[in-house]
Symmetry: D2
Subunit: 150 residues, 4 copies
């Protein structure tokens, strides 16, 4: 039942095109740095205008990055013509998010016909090392025939 | 055990001052529109630069708004000198987020010494009515003596 | 989109018949005490063989009761012939679970074609009053045509 | 900050003694089959009296097994005299739970002073292979000085 076989051979171009349409990813400076079937990494550089009251990255920015990483990891396995929507996600905040770069690594745990379950580790890269700052588990939904583009 | 009594009589000014320091809330155009013990409403007007690939508000924006609403609802009940951190939250996305305004209503479900559990309904206001577009439940942590400001 | 209209006029008998088939509900002594469209209450009396290490009800028992309450609240709105499966749930434990009776009140938040989002408050009844001991939010899935009975 | 060093050299005996006190684990036939710092495996054999309406294991049984595996993985790293309580958990149900044995593998993701975040994979062993049937992420709390035994 679980498969990491892309159902759409053009998954790479399709995921990248959809990511480009997420205006909010551009607003927070996120870039797509890794894409393979069932795997998407997104990263950004912390900025003052993304911070919470103590100067760390706002949990909502981490959630946005991890949610998009999960959503596109899921979309990479979906059939051509399907769109992806987040049904729900949970995120645990594990350490203050600061560093040179923040990377969210979305990975598919289970790819079903309607629902795809993904996890994402969010890490802060600093001084050459990595600290896991958050962990997400989310449920992504395959939507077909509702007039939504990819 | 549960109490909606503020432990800090100056809770109102303290919550507002902390909210002003959340640079990311300013970035997404969020305003604090209601504050009472255990209750905080935040709202924003949807903008293109906050959107996902289909033109709706990105789930990460909804999560950010609801997380701050929950966090400040929790902080309103915490003792003077304590800081609030999000330990974890879960959000269910219920309907596409579009409308004239988006309001996140954070409410304390249980206020404990260390952990405060909150929920938030996120609604889209359109044509005079409201649609619930997301629901969050989260756990906020009281942090004392770690050198974090409010 | 949201509706609390039962799609199956025979929902009452159907939900009760399915509940009777859940052997585990009988094992923990759960009874169905309220059923209306989108609403199911289940309750049980705490017993030593359901306890965790401190003598309170095990969180897994609370989760089981709340999950079935949510699942049957969802099933009460589903079309005839559909089966319900839990896709995921989250539960926050708010207070030690002890008392004369434990009641889980499952309520539909949003009823969609494929996914139904529910919440459940779990309360302990003691000395005539109630204490909320847990809160669940979960996603239930409508399954049709896979050969599953109700 | 993260450490998988047990703070209590007697962690092994302490975890096993606490597990023996969880009457509900005995009720569902769970056994502790692996214990190391930050790691606990629990397993059980499916029985009819643990089933839901389609004959599979009830999601609440999976949640109970995974919650105890997470809780004891967390307790294995806690200081002597501390008790563990589940603050919250989320579980995704990935496949019908049936097989010769069900194993929940609790692992600590982040061990903090007050909160420990854990995950658990729940697998069904059948015909020599394994299928992941559920995935949990949960937050466990270190409780000291409230008169709770281990």
């Amino acid at each position: 039942m679980t498969t990491l076989q892309p159902r759409d051979p053009a998954f790479d171009a399709r995921v990248r095109a959809s990511f480009e349409k997420q205006r909010f990813m551009s607003t927070i400076g996120a870039r797509l740095t890794h894409l393979a079937p069932g795997e998407v990494d997104l990263e950004l550089v912390p900025r003052d205008d993304l911070s919470q009251q103590h100067g760390f990255l706002h949990a909502g920015v981490l959630a946005a990055l991890a949610d998009s990483a999960c959503g596109y990891a899921a979309l990479s396995l979906m059939p051509a013509g399907a769109a992806v929507l987040s049904a729900e996600f949970k995120i645990n905040l594990l350490a203050p998010a600061a560093g040179e770069r923040i990377v969210a690594r979305g990975r598919v745990i289970k790819s079903g016909r309607t629902l795809t379950v993904c996890s994402a580790d969010v890490v802060a890269v600093r001084e050459g090392g990595e600290v896991v700052v958050a962990h997400m588990v989310g449920t992504m939904m395959t939507v077909e025939g509702r007039g939504l583009s990819d």
